[in-house]
């Protein structure tokens, strides 16, 4: 049977993608940002850890979804997805290959479990999805695993509550556990941490709040589930709301988790870069 082996979170700042694509990761500005991923890059390619499939939770940044269509939770079910042209040409990264059987299975299971998923086939994937892949896998010829894209609306208000995200994670875990193929599946939650991309408050970073958020993924996920949107906005900036997506990852791992690795760096462009690796503890 398929099972969830680990959860990873990471910010998905577009400038990180540009640094990788332009070969600038060794520059003084970027070195400390990328150094915190060295541990994960080595860990994730060990045979016992390497995922067959990653369920990659991210938000589309007005690439596949414009104002015409705003799905709260959309699961990509096609066989593959091309990198999006976000205004400067598509990123030179591999095509994202899906495990479509698993994706459709998750879609069906979650809908029966009362999560009204939007199913999408034709979709280009933007930096929200491809930057975490670059951070974890570098620049391979092909991505080393299949990827199920799960896009969450965190742009037009209201986004889903943290609790809703957490519960969706639990439903995804049940779906994965009932898939007959023997697969190692990771769930990644992306975006965050504190950042604000607008107005006179732009550039807001709240390291203390971010670190407590990282701590409580292990220590007190119940607090995070109950956190209202206004707290994210006040404390972590208007784009800090992306962190609700991390709770889908957290919900998918079960009640208890063990922290294997973390990295926190200010700043990557406008953003506090946060990264954590968790595994189920029971």
């Amino acid at each position: 049977m398929a099972h969830i082996t680990a959860g990873i979170t990471s910010s998905h700042v577009p400038a990180i993608g540009a640094a990788v694509d332009l070969g600038n990761t060794g520059e003084d500005y970027w070195k400390p940002a990328f150094a915190g991923f060295d541990w994960t890059k080595e860990w994730i390619m060990k045979p016992e850890n390497k995922p067959d499939v990653v369920i990659l939770v991210y938000n589309d940044h007005a690439s596949a979804f414009d104002m015409n269509l705003i799905p709260t939770f959309a699961i990509g079910c096609a066989d593959e997805f091309q990198p999006a042209d976000e205004g400067w040409g598509p990123r030179p990264v591999p095509v994202v290959k899906n495990h479509a059987d698993l994706a459709w299975h998750i879609a069906q299971s979650c809908i029966l479990d009362e999560f009204d998923m939007t199913i999408i086939n034709k979709m280009d994937v933007d930096h929200g999805l491809t930057v975490p892949l670059s951070l974890m896998f570098g620049q391979p010829e092909d991505w080393p695993c299949k990827v199920v894209p799960l896009a969450v609306n965190v742009v037009t208000y209201p986004p889903p509550s943290g609790n809703r995200c957490y519960n969706l994670g639990k439903a995804i875990r049940d779906a994965v556990d009932s898939f007959p193929e023997d697969l190692k599946v990771q769930v990644w939650g992306t975006g965050g941490m504190s950042h604000q991309l607008q107005g006179t408050r732009a550039g807001l970073i709240n390291a203390e709040w971010d670190k407590k958020f990282l701590d409580d993924l292990t220590a007190d996920p119940e607090r995070l589930r109950k956190m209202p949107h206004i707290e994210y906005l006040r404390e972590a900036g208007s784009e800090g709301i992306e962190l609700v997506m991390w709770l889908i990852m957290r919900g998918a791992l079960g009640d208890k988790v063990k922290e294997l690795h973390r990295h926190y760096h200010v700043a990557a462009s406008n953003t506090a870069l946060g990264h954590i690796v968790l595994e189920p503890a029971e």
Binding site: M67, W88, V155, T200, G203, I205, A207
Partner: protein, 135 residues
């Protein structure tokens, strides 16, 4: 856990220097944002850069005020008029500008000063969480 939608929305106005992208803003900026999406195609970027005013004339539902703000790359104003940063990213990306460069223009700081602020830990949330409570 059920929240009252009016109270939920009203709280957003209490955050200094922030325009949360509510449905009211989304409706106001619908055509600005859809115009921005058109710049995801290279042939449209070329036509836009060749004659911005002519390109905007193809979008009759964008108001003159919105058009002026687009031509001036006044991102702060565009947020007031219903623009959203992820949509407007297509405009500044077409100009070859990064998020950091575009975002810094809304802060009254130079790009270098803004970049240095980010490198030294970013902007503190102290005093910027709530207008009413001032914390």
């Amino acid at each position: 856990m059920k929240q009252n939608i009016h109270e939920y929305l009203a709280e957003f106005d209490d955050i200094p220097g922030t325009r949360v992208y509510t449905t009211a803003r989304a409706r106001k900026g619908y055509w600005v944002n859809q115009f921005a999406m058109s710049l995801m195609k290279d042939e449209n970027r070329k036509r836009w850069l060749a004659d911005e005013k002519a390109y905007l004339d193809e979008w009759p539902k964008i108001t003159q005020e919105q058009k002026d703000a687009l031509l001036a790359r006044d991102y702060d104003k565009l947020l007031d008029l219903g623009g959203n940063i992820y949509f407007l990213a297509k405009v500044f990306s077409t100009d070859g500008k990064s998020y950091l460069q575009a975002v810094s223009t809304m802060t009254g700081m130079s790009v270098d000063d803004y970049r240095n602020m980010m490198l030294s830990g970013g902007r503190s949330p102290e005093g910027l969480r709530s207008k009413k409570k001032g914390y």
